[in-house]
Protein backbone atom coordinates (compact mmCIF):
# COMPACT_ATOMS: atom_id res chain seq x y z
CA UNK A 1 0.00 0.00 0.00
CA UNK A 2 2.89 2.31 0.79
CA UNK A 3 3.94 2.81 -2.73
CA UNK A 4 0.53 4.09 -3.66
CA UNK A 5 0.64 6.93 -1.19
CA UNK A 6 4.34 7.79 -1.23
CA UNK A 7 5.21 9.43 -4.48
CA UNK A 8 8.85 10.29 -4.61
CA UNK A 9 10.23 13.07 -6.72
CA UNK A 10 12.47 10.59 -8.49
CA UNK A 11 9.44 8.65 -9.58
CA UNK A 12 7.77 11.80 -10.75
CA UNK A 13 10.76 12.77 -12.87
CA UNK A 14 10.84 9.30 -14.32
CA UNK A 15 7.13 9.33 -15.05
CA UNK A 16 7.18 12.81 -16.58
CA UNK A 17 10.20 11.90 -18.60
CA UNK A 18 8.50 8.82 -19.97
CA UNK A 19 5.30 10.65 -20.81
CA UNK A 20 7.11 13.51 -22.52
CA UNK A 21 9.36 11.22 -24.41
CA UNK A 22 6.47 9.07 -25.56
CA UNK A 23 4.53 12.13 -26.62
CA UNK A 24 7.46 13.49 -28.53
CA UNK A 25 8.36 10.21 -30.15
CA UNK A 26 4.94 9.14 -31.29
CA UNK A 27 3.18 12.40 -32.00
CA UNK A 28 3.59 14.53 -35.12
CA UNK A 29 5.55 17.02 -33.01
CA UNK A 30 8.44 14.63 -32.85
CA UNK A 31 8.54 13.91 -36.52
CA UNK A 32 8.07 17.59 -37.30
CA UNK A 33 10.98 18.60 -35.11
CA UNK A 34 13.03 15.84 -36.63
CA UNK A 35 12.13 16.93 -40.11
CA UNK A 36 13.37 20.41 -39.33
CA UNK A 37 16.54 19.53 -37.45
CA UNK A 38 17.63 16.30 -39.09
CA UNK A 39 19.81 17.87 -41.75
CA UNK A 40 21.38 20.33 -39.35
CA UNK A 41 22.31 17.72 -36.77
CA UNK A 42 23.59 15.42 -39.44
CA UNK A 43 25.72 18.18 -40.90
CA UNK A 44 27.21 18.87 -37.48
CA UNK A 45 27.84 15.23 -36.71
CA UNK A 46 29.62 14.45 -39.92
CA UNK A 47 31.73 17.57 -39.85
CA UNK A 48 33.14 17.16 -36.40
CA UNK A 49 34.71 13.76 -36.04
CA UNK A 50 36.79 13.16 -32.95
CA UNK A 51 38.77 9.92 -33.17
CA UNK A 52 40.27 8.28 -30.14
CA UNK A 53 43.98 8.88 -29.65
CA UNK A 54 44.97 5.24 -29.57
CA UNK A 55 47.99 3.86 -31.35
CA UNK A 56 48.64 0.18 -31.77
CA UNK A 57 51.24 -0.41 -34.47
CA UNK A 58 52.65 0.95 -37.72
CA UNK A 59 49.42 2.61 -38.80
CA UNK A 60 49.49 4.65 -35.59
CA UNK A 61 52.50 6.45 -36.99
CA UNK A 62 50.65 7.27 -40.15
CA UNK A 63 47.78 8.42 -37.99
CA UNK A 64 50.17 10.86 -36.30
CA UNK A 65 51.57 11.94 -39.64
CA UNK A 66 48.07 12.54 -40.95
CA UNK A 67 47.53 15.23 -38.34
CA UNK A 68 50.94 16.81 -38.97
CA UNK A 69 51.35 19.73 -41.39
CA UNK A 70 51.92 17.80 -44.57
CA UNK A 71 48.63 15.93 -44.63
CA UNK A 72 46.72 18.06 -42.14
CA UNK A 73 43.61 16.16 -41.18
CA UNK A 74 42.55 19.08 -38.99
CA UNK A 75 41.17 20.84 -42.04
CA UNK A 76 38.21 18.49 -41.82
CA UNK A 77 37.70 19.11 -38.14
CA UNK A 78 39.37 15.90 -37.05
CA UNK A 79 40.79 16.30 -33.57
CA UNK A 80 42.19 13.45 -31.51
CA UNK A 81 40.85 13.17 -28.00
CA UNK A 82 42.53 11.02 -25.41
CA UNK A 83 39.53 9.80 -23.47
CA UNK A 84 36.90 7.52 -24.98
CA UNK A 85 34.14 9.55 -23.35
CA UNK A 86 34.58 12.38 -25.80
CA UNK A 87 35.15 10.44 -29.00
CA UNK A 88 33.06 9.51 -32.00
CA UNK A 89 35.37 7.17 -33.83
CA UNK A 90 37.43 4.27 -32.60
CA UNK A 91 40.38 4.00 -34.93
CA UNK A 92 41.83 0.51 -34.66
CA UNK A 93 45.22 0.71 -36.29
CA UNK A 94 47.00 -2.54 -35.73
CA UNK A 95 46.73 -6.19 -34.79
CA UNK A 96 44.58 -6.94 -31.80
CA UNK A 97 46.21 -9.49 -29.56
CA UNK A 98 44.23 -11.71 -27.26
CA UNK A 99 45.56 -9.79 -24.29
CA UNK A 100 44.29 -6.52 -25.73
CA UNK A 101 40.88 -7.78 -26.85
CA UNK A 102 38.98 -7.20 -23.57
CA UNK A 103 40.55 -3.76 -23.16
CA UNK A 104 39.59 -2.74 -26.68
CA UNK A 105 36.05 -3.95 -26.25
CA UNK A 106 35.85 -1.96 -23.06
CA UNK A 107 37.09 1.16 -24.81
CA UNK A 108 34.37 0.69 -27.40
CA UNK A 109 31.75 0.31 -24.72
CA UNK A 110 32.93 3.43 -22.93
CA UNK A 111 32.36 5.60 -25.95
CA UNK A 112 29.07 7.50 -26.09
CA UNK A 113 26.81 6.95 -29.06
CA UNK A 114 26.53 7.63 -31.95
CA UNK A 115 29.89 6.01 -32.58
CA UNK A 116 31.73 4.45 -35.46
CA UNK A 117 34.70 2.16 -35.88
CA UNK A 118 37.38 2.39 -38.53
CA UNK A 119 39.64 -0.60 -39.11
CA UNK A 120 42.86 0.84 -40.46
CA UNK A 121 45.40 -1.42 -42.11
CA UNK A 122 45.53 -5.10 -42.90
CA UNK A 123 46.16 -6.18 -39.31
CA UNK A 124 42.93 -4.68 -38.06
CA UNK A 125 40.97 -5.93 -41.07
CA UNK A 126 42.09 -9.54 -41.12
CA UNK A 127 45.21 -10.02 -39.06
CA UNK A 128 47.50 -9.04 -41.90
CA UNK A 129 50.87 -10.76 -41.90
CA UNK A 130 50.04 -12.26 -38.53
CA UNK A 131 46.80 -13.87 -39.63
CA UNK A 132 47.70 -17.31 -38.32
CA UNK A 133 49.49 -16.35 -35.15
CA UNK A 134 48.45 -17.94 -31.90
CA UNK A 135 48.06 -14.61 -30.20
CA UNK A 136 46.40 -12.33 -32.76
CA UNK A 137 42.67 -11.96 -33.32
CA UNK A 138 42.19 -12.21 -37.09
CA UNK A 139 40.31 -9.01 -37.68
CA UNK A 140 38.79 -6.56 -35.29
CA UNK A 141 35.31 -7.14 -36.73
CA UNK A 142 35.22 -10.41 -34.84
CA UNK A 143 34.12 -8.57 -31.73
CA UNK A 144 33.41 -4.94 -32.70
CA UNK A 145 31.13 -3.79 -35.54
CA UNK A 146 33.30 -2.01 -38.11
CA UNK A 147 32.00 0.69 -40.44
CA UNK A 148 34.97 1.61 -42.59
CA UNK A 149 37.87 -0.55 -43.70
CA UNK A 150 41.05 1.15 -44.89
CA UNK A 151 43.36 -1.34 -46.61
CA UNK A 152 47.11 -0.94 -46.77
CA UNK A 153 50.05 -2.25 -44.82
CA UNK A 154 50.49 0.31 -43.40
CA UNK A 155 47.72 2.49 -44.79
CA UNK A 156 49.05 5.79 -46.03
CA UNK A 157 47.92 9.09 -44.51
CA UNK A 158 46.03 9.95 -47.67
CA UNK A 159 44.15 6.69 -47.30
CA UNK A 160 43.27 7.58 -43.74
CA UNK A 161 41.91 10.97 -44.78
CA UNK A 162 39.99 9.26 -47.55
CA UNK A 163 38.58 6.89 -44.96
CA UNK A 164 37.36 9.81 -42.90
CA UNK A 165 35.68 11.30 -45.94
CA UNK A 166 34.04 7.96 -46.66
CA UNK A 167 32.84 7.92 -43.09
CA UNK A 168 31.32 11.36 -43.60
CA UNK A 169 29.46 10.01 -46.62
CA UNK A 170 28.30 7.04 -44.58
CA UNK A 171 26.96 9.31 -41.87
CA UNK A 172 25.21 11.41 -44.48
CA UNK A 173 23.54 8.37 -45.99
CA UNK A 174 22.28 7.06 -42.67
CA UNK A 175 20.51 10.24 -41.69
CA UNK A 176 18.41 9.78 -38.60
CA UNK A 177 16.15 12.00 -36.59
CA UNK A 178 17.13 12.60 -33.02
CA UNK A 179 13.71 11.93 -31.51
CA UNK A 180 11.99 9.40 -33.71
CA UNK A 181 15.07 7.60 -34.88
CA UNK A 182 13.87 7.66 -38.47
Amino acid sequence: MGNVIVFRSKDFVKWADGVLEGALRRSPIGSGVDYLTKDFFNWATRNSIYPLHFGIMCCALEMAVASAPRFDAQRFGIIYRSTPRQCDVLLVNGPVSKKLKPALRRLYDQMPGPKWVIAMGECAISGGPFYNSYSVVPGVDQFIPVDIYIPGCPARPEALIDGFIKLQKLIKENKKGLLTGK
Binding site: F40, F41, W43, A44, T45, N47, S48, P69, D72, Q74, R75, F76, G77, R81, S82, T83, R85, Q86, D88, Q110, P112, G113, P114, L178
Partner: protein, 375 residues
Amino acid sequence: MNLFQFCYGIIHWLVDLINHLWYWLGNLLPWWFGDFFNAVGDLAASHGNIVVFTILLEALVILIIAVVNVLNFIWIDRKFMGRMFDFYGPYYVGYRIGGWLQNIADGIKLFVKEIITPAKADKIGFYLGPVIFVSSSFLALSTIPLGRNFGIATNPSGLGVPASALIAFAFFAIAPFAILISGWSSNNKYTLIGGMRSAAQMMSYEIPMLLTVASVFLLAGSFDFMDIVSAQHDIWFAIPLALGFVIFLVCLVAEVEIQPFDLPEAEAELVEGWTTEYSGMRFGFFMMTSYLRGYIGGALTTALFLGGWHGPALIPEPIWFLIKAYIVFVVIEWMRWSTPRVRVDQLLNIGWNRLMPLAMLNLLIAASMKTMGWF
Protein backbone atom coordinates in the same frame (compact mmCIF):
# COMPACT_ATOMS: atom_id res chain seq x y z
CA MET B 1 22.28 56.50 -22.72
CA ASN B 2 23.84 53.39 -21.33
CA LEU B 3 22.99 49.74 -21.79
CA PHE B 4 20.68 49.63 -18.81
CA GLN B 5 18.68 52.56 -20.02
CA PHE B 6 18.60 51.12 -23.50
CA CYS B 7 17.26 47.80 -22.32
CA TYR B 8 14.92 49.57 -19.93
CA GLY B 9 13.57 51.54 -22.84
CA ILE B 10 13.03 48.47 -24.95
CA ILE B 11 11.25 46.65 -22.18
CA HIS B 12 9.19 49.69 -21.36
CA TRP B 13 8.16 50.03 -24.96
CA LEU B 14 7.27 46.35 -25.19
CA VAL B 15 5.27 46.43 -21.98
CA ASP B 16 3.45 49.53 -23.16
CA LEU B 17 2.64 47.87 -26.43
CA ILE B 18 1.29 44.80 -24.75
CA ASN B 19 -0.56 46.84 -22.16
CA HIS B 20 -2.38 48.78 -24.85
CA LEU B 21 -3.77 45.53 -26.16
CA TRP B 22 -4.38 44.32 -22.66
CA TYR B 23 -6.35 47.35 -21.54
CA TRP B 24 -8.32 47.31 -24.74
CA LEU B 25 -9.14 43.68 -24.08
CA GLY B 26 -10.06 44.53 -20.50
CA ASN B 27 -12.42 47.25 -21.61
CA LEU B 28 -14.38 44.76 -23.65
CA LEU B 29 -15.00 42.56 -20.63
CA PRO B 30 -17.46 43.14 -17.75
CA TRP B 31 -16.23 45.64 -15.15
CA TRP B 32 -15.16 43.24 -12.37
CA PHE B 33 -13.07 41.25 -14.77
CA GLY B 34 -11.83 44.37 -16.46
CA ASP B 35 -10.59 45.76 -13.17
CA PHE B 36 -8.60 42.63 -12.59
CA PHE B 37 -7.17 43.03 -16.07
CA ASN B 38 -6.22 46.59 -15.39
CA ALA B 39 -4.61 45.67 -12.10
CA VAL B 40 -2.45 43.05 -13.83
CA GLY B 41 -1.55 45.56 -16.49
CA ASP B 42 -0.52 48.14 -13.91
CA LEU B 43 1.59 45.61 -12.13
CA ALA B 44 3.28 44.72 -15.38
CA ALA B 45 3.98 48.36 -16.12
CA SER B 46 5.42 49.05 -12.67
CA HIS B 47 9.04 50.11 -12.36
CA GLY B 48 10.15 47.04 -10.40
CA ASN B 49 8.74 44.63 -12.90
CA ILE B 50 10.34 46.42 -15.81
CA VAL B 51 13.69 46.41 -14.01
CA VAL B 52 13.42 42.66 -13.54
CA PHE B 53 12.74 42.16 -17.20
CA THR B 54 15.51 44.58 -18.08
CA ILE B 55 17.96 42.49 -16.10
CA LEU B 56 16.76 39.39 -17.89
CA LEU B 57 17.29 41.11 -21.21
CA GLU B 58 20.75 42.14 -20.10
CA ALA B 59 21.47 38.53 -19.20
CA LEU B 60 20.51 37.63 -22.74
CA VAL B 61 22.89 40.27 -24.03
CA ILE B 62 25.63 38.78 -21.86
CA LEU B 63 24.88 35.34 -23.21
CA ILE B 64 25.07 36.56 -26.78
CA ILE B 65 28.33 38.40 -26.16
CA ALA B 66 29.74 35.34 -24.48
CA VAL B 67 28.71 32.89 -27.15
CA VAL B 68 29.87 35.04 -30.02
CA ASN B 69 33.17 35.69 -28.31
CA VAL B 70 33.69 32.05 -27.50
CA LEU B 71 33.02 31.02 -31.08
CA ASN B 72 35.42 33.68 -32.29
CA PHE B 73 38.02 32.68 -29.77
CA ILE B 74 37.97 29.00 -30.61
CA TRP B 75 38.24 29.93 -34.25
CA ILE B 76 41.08 32.38 -33.63
CA ASP B 77 42.80 29.83 -31.44
CA ARG B 78 42.68 27.13 -34.09
CA LYS B 79 43.56 29.40 -36.97
CA PHE B 80 46.40 31.01 -35.08
CA MET B 81 47.68 27.62 -34.02
CA GLY B 82 47.41 26.48 -37.61
CA ARG B 83 49.40 29.41 -38.90
CA MET B 84 52.06 28.85 -36.27
CA PHE B 85 52.23 25.17 -37.10
CA ASP B 86 52.29 25.41 -40.87
CA PHE B 87 48.79 24.26 -41.54
CA TYR B 88 45.39 25.67 -42.26
CA GLY B 89 43.37 25.00 -39.17
CA PRO B 90 39.66 24.39 -39.72
CA TYR B 91 39.02 24.92 -43.39
CA TYR B 92 36.28 22.93 -45.04
CA VAL B 93 33.35 23.52 -42.71
CA GLY B 94 32.11 26.90 -43.83
CA TYR B 95 35.10 27.50 -46.02
CA ARG B 96 33.68 30.76 -47.36
CA ILE B 97 34.15 32.34 -43.95
CA GLY B 98 37.43 30.69 -43.12
CA GLY B 99 36.15 27.61 -41.38
CA TRP B 100 34.28 29.60 -38.78
CA LEU B 101 31.39 27.14 -38.74
CA GLN B 102 33.64 24.39 -37.40
CA ASN B 103 32.96 25.41 -33.81
CA ILE B 104 29.23 25.42 -34.38
CA ALA B 105 29.46 21.95 -35.85
CA ASP B 106 31.47 20.81 -32.84
CA GLY B 107 28.98 22.28 -30.43
CA ILE B 108 25.93 20.82 -32.15
CA LYS B 109 27.60 17.44 -32.40
CA LEU B 110 28.34 17.45 -28.68
CA PHE B 111 24.70 18.37 -28.10
CA VAL B 112 23.57 15.34 -30.08
CA LYS B 113 25.97 12.94 -28.34
CA GLU B 114 24.92 10.60 -25.60
CA ILE B 115 25.59 11.85 -22.08
CA ILE B 116 27.12 9.23 -19.84
CA THR B 117 27.17 9.32 -16.08
CA PRO B 118 29.59 6.76 -14.70
CA ALA B 119 27.90 4.20 -12.50
CA LYS B 120 30.15 4.82 -9.52
CA ALA B 121 30.27 8.59 -9.79
CA ASP B 122 28.89 10.77 -7.04
CA LYS B 123 25.81 11.97 -8.86
CA ILE B 124 25.22 15.30 -7.12
CA GLY B 125 28.78 16.50 -7.48
CA PHE B 126 28.98 15.19 -11.00
CA TYR B 127 25.95 17.23 -12.05
CA LEU B 128 26.83 20.25 -9.94
CA GLY B 129 30.40 20.69 -11.17
CA PRO B 130 29.60 21.92 -14.69
CA VAL B 131 26.79 24.11 -13.39
CA ILE B 132 29.03 25.94 -10.93
CA PHE B 133 31.84 26.19 -13.44
CA VAL B 134 29.71 27.69 -16.18
CA SER B 135 27.57 29.96 -14.03
CA SER B 136 30.44 31.45 -12.06
CA SER B 137 32.25 32.29 -15.27
CA PHE B 138 29.17 33.96 -16.69
CA LEU B 139 28.75 35.95 -13.50
CA ALA B 140 32.33 37.13 -13.73
CA LEU B 141 31.71 38.16 -17.31
CA SER B 142 28.62 40.12 -16.38
CA THR B 143 30.57 42.53 -14.20
CA ILE B 144 32.93 43.70 -16.91
CA PRO B 145 31.82 46.80 -18.83
CA LEU B 146 32.66 46.96 -22.49
CA GLY B 147 32.32 50.69 -22.76
CA ARG B 148 31.42 53.74 -20.73
CA ASN B 149 27.78 53.03 -21.53
CA PHE B 150 27.99 49.34 -22.14
CA GLY B 151 28.08 47.71 -18.75
CA ILE B 152 25.67 45.58 -16.83
CA ALA B 153 26.78 45.60 -13.24
CA THR B 154 27.34 49.32 -13.46
CA ASN B 155 24.43 50.80 -11.66
CA PRO B 156 23.22 54.01 -13.30
CA SER B 157 21.28 55.19 -10.30
CA GLY B 158 24.40 55.18 -8.16
CA LEU B 159 22.69 53.10 -5.51
CA GLY B 160 24.90 50.01 -5.61
CA VAL B 161 28.32 49.50 -4.12
CA PRO B 162 30.96 50.45 -6.70
CA ALA B 163 32.90 47.21 -6.44
CA SER B 164 32.44 45.49 -9.75
CA ALA B 165 36.14 44.58 -10.09
CA LEU B 166 36.13 42.98 -6.68
CA ILE B 167 33.04 40.98 -7.57
CA ALA B 168 34.57 39.91 -10.86
CA PHE B 169 37.61 38.47 -9.13
CA ALA B 170 35.44 36.79 -6.53
CA PHE B 171 33.45 35.00 -9.21
CA PHE B 172 36.53 34.32 -11.24
CA ALA B 173 38.07 32.40 -8.37
CA ILE B 174 35.13 30.03 -7.90
CA ALA B 175 35.97 27.86 -10.90
CA PRO B 176 38.79 25.79 -9.36
CA PHE B 177 36.33 24.84 -6.66
CA ALA B 178 33.98 23.49 -9.32
CA ILE B 179 36.91 21.66 -10.90
CA LEU B 180 37.71 20.08 -7.58
CA ILE B 181 34.10 19.00 -7.12
CA SER B 182 33.79 17.47 -10.55
CA GLY B 183 37.22 15.89 -10.33
CA TRP B 184 36.46 14.30 -7.01
CA SER B 185 32.98 13.12 -7.87
CA SER B 186 33.92 11.53 -11.19
CA ASN B 187 35.45 8.69 -9.19
CA ASN B 188 38.46 8.44 -11.44
CA LYS B 189 42.06 8.73 -10.35
CA TYR B 190 43.08 11.07 -13.13
CA THR B 191 40.23 13.47 -12.48
CA LEU B 192 40.99 13.37 -8.78
CA ILE B 193 44.62 14.34 -9.35
CA GLY B 194 43.49 17.02 -11.78
CA GLY B 195 41.08 18.50 -9.25
CA MET B 196 43.69 18.49 -6.52
CA ARG B 197 46.21 20.17 -8.77
CA SER B 198 43.65 22.79 -9.64
CA ALA B 199 43.07 23.56 -5.98
CA ALA B 200 46.80 23.86 -5.32
CA GLN B 201 47.23 26.05 -8.34
CA MET B 202 44.45 28.37 -7.30
CA MET B 203 45.85 28.67 -3.80
CA SER B 204 49.27 29.68 -5.01
CA TYR B 205 48.35 31.97 -7.88
CA GLU B 206 45.33 33.79 -6.52
CA ILE B 207 47.38 35.64 -3.93
CA PRO B 208 50.01 37.28 -6.17
CA MET B 209 47.31 38.05 -8.69
CA LEU B 210 45.14 39.82 -6.16
CA LEU B 211 48.15 41.66 -4.76
CA THR B 212 48.82 42.99 -8.24
CA VAL B 213 45.20 43.93 -8.64
CA ALA B 214 45.39 45.67 -5.30
CA SER B 215 48.10 47.91 -6.70
CA VAL B 216 45.75 48.87 -9.51
CA PHE B 217 42.99 49.59 -7.01
CA LEU B 218 45.43 51.69 -5.07
CA LEU B 219 46.34 53.83 -8.05
CA ALA B 220 42.76 54.17 -9.27
CA GLY B 221 41.36 54.66 -5.80
CA SER B 222 38.33 52.56 -6.51
CA PHE B 223 37.05 49.00 -6.79
CA ASP B 224 34.91 49.78 -9.79
CA PHE B 225 35.83 49.11 -13.37
CA MET B 226 34.32 52.43 -14.46
CA ASP B 227 36.61 54.42 -12.18
CA ILE B 228 39.62 52.24 -12.90
CA VAL B 229 39.26 52.70 -16.62
CA SER B 230 38.60 56.42 -16.39
CA ALA B 231 41.70 56.73 -14.20
CA GLN B 232 43.66 55.39 -17.16
CA HIS B 233 42.61 58.18 -19.44
CA ASP B 234 46.05 59.77 -19.46
CA ILE B 235 48.28 56.77 -19.07
CA TRP B 236 47.63 53.05 -19.08
CA PHE B 237 48.48 51.32 -15.84
CA ALA B 238 50.57 48.85 -17.80
CA ILE B 239 53.27 51.50 -18.09
CA PRO B 240 53.83 52.58 -14.48
CA LEU B 241 53.00 49.07 -13.25
CA ALA B 242 54.96 47.19 -15.91
CA LEU B 243 56.14 44.66 -13.34
CA GLY B 244 52.61 44.18 -12.10
CA PHE B 245 51.35 43.73 -15.62
CA VAL B 246 53.74 40.85 -16.26
CA ILE B 247 52.90 39.22 -12.95
CA PHE B 248 49.23 39.61 -13.65
CA LEU B 249 49.57 38.04 -17.07
CA VAL B 250 51.46 35.04 -15.70
CA CYS B 251 48.96 34.55 -12.89
CA LEU B 252 46.14 34.91 -15.36
CA VAL B 253 47.49 32.14 -17.51
CA ALA B 254 47.62 29.98 -14.43
CA GLU B 255 44.11 30.97 -13.43
CA VAL B 256 42.51 30.22 -16.77
CA GLU B 257 44.60 27.05 -16.94
CA ILE B 258 46.22 27.21 -20.32
CA GLN B 259 49.35 25.80 -21.63
CA PRO B 260 52.43 26.41 -19.51
CA PHE B 261 50.24 26.05 -16.44
CA ASP B 262 47.47 23.75 -17.61
CA LEU B 263 48.32 21.12 -15.04
CA PRO B 264 44.74 20.18 -14.12
CA GLU B 265 44.15 18.96 -17.64
CA ALA B 266 47.69 17.92 -18.46
CA GLU B 267 47.02 15.84 -21.51
CA ALA B 268 50.11 13.72 -21.38
CA GLU B 269 49.95 12.28 -17.92
CA LEU B 270 46.32 12.72 -16.85
CA VAL B 271 44.35 11.59 -19.84
CA GLU B 272 42.15 14.64 -20.24
CA GLY B 273 42.61 15.85 -16.71
CA TRP B 274 39.49 16.54 -14.73
CA THR B 275 37.17 16.35 -17.75
CA THR B 276 38.09 12.74 -18.42
CA GLU B 277 34.73 11.29 -17.42
CA TYR B 278 32.50 13.99 -18.91
CA SER B 279 30.88 13.33 -22.25
CA GLY B 280 28.47 15.02 -24.58
CA MET B 281 27.23 18.51 -23.85
CA ARG B 282 28.68 18.57 -20.35
CA PHE B 283 32.11 18.36 -21.88
CA GLY B 284 30.98 20.92 -24.45
CA PHE B 285 30.14 23.33 -21.64
CA PHE B 286 33.53 22.78 -20.08
CA MET B 287 35.34 23.41 -23.32
CA MET B 288 33.25 26.48 -24.09
CA THR B 289 33.72 27.87 -20.63
CA SER B 290 37.45 27.42 -20.66
CA TYR B 291 37.59 29.65 -23.73
CA LEU B 292 35.13 32.01 -22.10
CA ARG B 293 37.53 32.28 -19.20
CA GLY B 294 40.21 33.11 -21.71
CA TYR B 295 38.05 35.97 -22.88
CA ILE B 296 37.38 37.08 -19.32
CA GLY B 297 41.10 37.05 -18.69
CA GLY B 298 41.71 39.22 -21.71
CA ALA B 299 38.93 41.57 -20.69
CA LEU B 300 40.23 41.87 -17.13
CA THR B 301 43.72 42.64 -18.39
CA THR B 302 42.31 45.24 -20.74
CA ALA B 303 40.21 46.91 -18.11
CA LEU B 304 42.87 46.90 -15.41
CA PHE B 305 46.03 47.60 -17.34
CA LEU B 306 45.45 48.44 -20.97
CA GLY B 307 43.21 51.42 -20.61
CA GLY B 308 39.90 49.69 -21.25
CA TRP B 309 37.94 51.38 -23.99
CA HIS B 310 40.22 54.37 -24.33
CA GLY B 311 41.45 54.85 -27.84
CA PRO B 312 41.09 57.18 -30.81
CA ALA B 313 37.45 58.01 -31.21
CA LEU B 314 37.14 56.66 -34.74
CA ILE B 315 36.06 53.28 -33.49
CA PRO B 316 33.27 52.82 -30.92
CA GLU B 317 34.30 52.10 -27.37
CA PRO B 318 33.15 48.45 -27.10
CA ILE B 319 35.06 47.62 -30.26
CA TRP B 320 38.23 49.13 -28.82
CA PHE B 321 37.73 47.08 -25.72
CA LEU B 322 37.20 43.88 -27.69
CA ILE B 323 40.23 44.51 -29.90
CA LYS B 324 42.46 44.85 -26.86
CA ALA B 325 40.96 41.80 -25.21
CA TYR B 326 41.47 39.76 -28.36
CA ILE B 327 45.09 40.85 -28.61
CA VAL B 328 45.73 39.78 -25.04
CA PHE B 329 44.09 36.48 -25.79
CA VAL B 330 46.24 35.94 -28.85
CA VAL B 331 49.36 36.64 -26.81
CA ILE B 332 48.21 34.07 -24.29
CA GLU B 333 47.59 31.59 -27.10
CA TRP B 334 51.03 32.27 -28.47
CA MET B 335 52.47 31.36 -25.11
CA ARG B 336 50.25 28.31 -25.02
CA TRP B 337 51.38 26.75 -28.26
CA SER B 338 55.08 27.36 -27.89
CA THR B 339 56.02 26.41 -24.35
CA PRO B 340 56.16 23.05 -22.63
CA ARG B 341 54.19 22.45 -19.48
CA VAL B 342 55.77 22.96 -16.06
CA ARG B 343 55.63 20.38 -13.31
CA VAL B 344 53.44 20.76 -10.26
CA ASP B 345 56.20 21.40 -7.73
CA GLN B 346 57.87 23.84 -10.10
CA LEU B 347 54.55 25.55 -10.55
CA LEU B 348 54.15 26.05 -6.82
CA ASN B 349 57.75 27.15 -6.62
CA ILE B 350 57.22 29.82 -9.23
CA GLY B 351 54.06 30.96 -7.51
CA TRP B 352 55.34 31.26 -3.98
CA ASN B 353 59.04 31.97 -4.40
CA ARG B 354 59.08 34.23 -7.41
CA LEU B 355 55.74 35.83 -7.99
CA MET B 356 54.84 36.54 -4.36
CA PRO B 357 57.88 38.74 -3.58
CA LEU B 358 57.60 40.44 -6.94
CA ALA B 359 53.92 41.17 -6.33
CA MET B 360 54.84 42.67 -2.95
CA LEU B 361 57.46 44.81 -4.65
CA ASN B 362 54.91 45.89 -7.19
CA LEU B 363 52.52 46.89 -4.44
CA LEU B 364 55.33 48.90 -2.85
CA ILE B 365 55.97 50.68 -6.15
CA ALA B 366 52.30 51.48 -6.50
CA ALA B 367 52.06 52.75 -2.95
CA SER B 368 55.08 54.99 -3.35
CA MET B 369 53.71 56.37 -6.59
CA LYS B 370 50.46 57.15 -4.88
CA THR B 371 52.33 58.76 -2.00
CA MET B 372 54.31 60.93 -4.38
CA GLY B 373 50.98 62.11 -5.66
CA TRP B 374 51.54 61.10 -9.25
CA PHE B 375 48.16 59.46 -9.45
